[in-house]
């Protein structure tokens, strides 16, 4: 009898297990090895540790694998209790949500993949409840995955509440978790490399975002973690060309959820052309706009394109507009979580931020301004996400979104056009 705790796991062994394990790194040719955990290739002349010991640099964060190790993919046995009514959520879906929820149930029934194109703030989590319930009743194993930790930690308590009787756990690389076998798993995409053919249903949130987008390793992680018969549900506010092409070729069914749960339009960004200026400063046009916001006490996020910029612009504002209470945040900022939490509680009027706050975070009643919106760091998906920070609650659905730049480029044009299209769809 197999221990269910190990069910669906990919285990690393120091010794081979007859008929079960495979070598962790296998030879492609004389100079190259293939990692059986992450399916990436390894140049022997770079990644060695000494005589005849080679390692995989791609999945190091899960513990270093060398050519002396073995992997054992333990078969998934779906040892879950029978449940007749696992969903205890009492809320109601909008008509639009209801239609999508039913489409998802059908996709699960037929073991098909499905994409939900849901604008920011449309309530996509609630829309998943029906399909999750259906799969739980069938004793299926389910993973809810997102590229970034923040999204996972926001998702976890909501699912825990909605499915109070179902075993569930959260798994990500930050902080120690004791793994245990559960029917629902909320984790980062990276963590999927610890599983092999384990999940019947996999829900991939923010499938268009960093670091999942264009990352071969993470794509393989998803492919390997699901069973051969499965349903993958992709969620995105801004599907990349990868998915648009699949849709175009009729290889992926999809639905659009273009209304926010409060039913009002997405704020359409306004574009302001500025003349070229010193990049450590803001143009006069923008400064006087900020001055205005100070007077009206409207809180806002100011997006800039890089970490150094965030700090410099924050310093610049300190001098230029000392009455404006603001600070900077970026991915390398050790106080980031505290600053964001304080801002959410209403402290400070503004944050100067990089794309780190582009998605996943929700603030009430916030105007959004992007400086140097024509920077290469902002593609159209990123600009749409940023614009989506505004107008999240129904009382303040008309928050302003403004793009300031020295040129009007394709990304800006596409972002504005897409938002208009979604509003009229």
């Amino acid at each position: 009898m197999q221990n269910k705790e190990l069910s669906g796991r990919l285990l690393v062994l120091r010794q081979p297990l007859v008929n079960r394990s495979v070598p962790a790194l296998t030879e492609i040719d004389e100079n190259t090895l293939l990692c059986q955990r992450c399916q990436m290739s390894i140049a022997k002349k770079i990644y060695y540790l000494g005589s005849n010991t080679f390692y995989c640099p791609h999945c190091l964060f899960l513990g270093r694998l060398t050519n002396k190790d073995y992997l054992w993919a333990v078969p998934e046995i779906n040892a879950f209790p029978k449940q007749s009514a696992p969903l205890v959520w009492q809320g109601k879906l909008t008509t639009q949500q209801q239609i999508v929820a039913q489409k998802l149930c059908l996709a699960e029934q037929n073991n098909q993949d499905y994409l939900v194109w849901a604008v920011t703030g449309s309530g996509k989590t609630e829309m998943l409840f029906l399909v999750l319930e259906q799969a739980i009743k069938k004793q299926k194993r389910i993973a809810l995955v997102a590229p970034r930790v923040d999204v996972c930690t926001e998702l976890y308590p909501r699912l825990q509440q909605a499915f109070a009787q179902v075993s569930i756990q959260l798994l990500h690389g930050q902080g120690a978790h004791d793994y245990h076998y559960t029917q629902l798993l909320v984790c980062t995409v990276h963590q999927l490399l610890k599983f092999r053919q384990a999940f019947d249903v996999l829900i991939l949130d923010e499938c268009d975002s960093y670091p999942y987008a264009n990352n071969v390793l993470l794509h393989r992680a998803v492919e390997q973690a699901v069973k051969s018969t499965h349903t993958i549900i992709y969620l995105s506010a801004t599907p990349s060309s990868e998915y648009q092409q699949l849709i175009h070729k009729n290889k992926l069914a999809y639905s659009i959820l273009n209304r926010r749960f409060h039913g009002k339009d997405l704020p359409v960004p306004h574009f302001y052309l500025c003349s070229k200026k010193n990049k450590h400063q803001l143009p006069v046009k923008l400064v006087s706009r900020l001055q205005n916001l100070v007077t009206t006490k409207q809180r806002f996020l100011l997006f800039v394109d890089r970490i150094l910029q965030a700090e410099q612009i924050s310093q610049f504002l300190q001098k230029k507009l000392p009455q404006l209470e603001q600070t900077f945040v970026h991915s390398k900022d050790p106080k980031r979580q505290q600053k964001v939490a304080a801002f959410r509680k209403g402290q400070r009027q503004a944050l100067v931020t990089t794309t780190v706050l582009e998605r996943g975070v929700t603030f009430k009643n916030i105007d959004v301004i992007v400086w140097q919106a024509d920077s290469q760091r902002f593609d159209s998906q990123s600009l749409i996400q940023i614009a989506g920070r505004a107008g999240r609650s129904s009382e303040f659905s008309d928050n302003k979104v403004s793009f300031y730049a020295t040129t009007y480029n394709k990304a800006i044009d596409q972002a504005i056009k897409t938002i208009k299209k979604l509003n009229h769809a």
């Binding site: 770079i46 060695y48 540790l49 010991t53 390692y55 190091l60």
Partner: protein, 227 residues
Amino acid sequence: MRNYCVLCQEAIVPQLTMLQILGISKVQNSSMCCRCRQEFYFIGDKCCQVCGKMDMQPICSDCEKWQQQGYNDYKHQALCVYNESMHDYFKRYKRYGDFSLRKAFQMDLRKMLVDYPEPFIFIPSSQEHLQQRQFDPTVGLFGDLINLTPAFIKMPTKVAQAQKNRQQRLATPQFLQFDHQYNALLTAKQITIVDDIYTTGRTILHAYDCLRAAGFTGVIRSCSLAR
């Protein structure tokens, strides 16, 4: 042949000076792309005159304490500040064990070491770490650039230096021993000690004590990647 950044795998576009284009001066092959390099803070002149700690002039509080304890004639040089990016770098290099990252700073370390004569002695890792990682991080960083002599023996300690707080580090008793097979080194005019990270100076000064106890009377200098 194309060069790829050891940290992010992006192709490196060499930025050549006029002299290099004309073939008058040699092209330096960097192992890091410009974007990754920008994340690190290279220590300039504005630093502690003794240990190289940034923005502490003329001498930092750590060194002041050591001088009060009688360490008046040692001097340390570090290449970079131990900032968030350096922390990430060491996490990948030492904790995850990505041996290929040893090359990231080689060009810069080579330049820094030009001013130091042989012999070089390195601070070794513990047996336990060596077994886990299957390489010595300090040897990885410096071993391709200079001849390193394994003249220090690390005696077993209970807690690794990296897991201690500042107070505990400063109070760590001697854990290095000079290997007397290398007594011939003790006649040199100068000995240079190399280590990966300089935190409080405790480790380097244990090495210093070791050399003095073994009878070395010459100049002692030390170098590290980070401070």
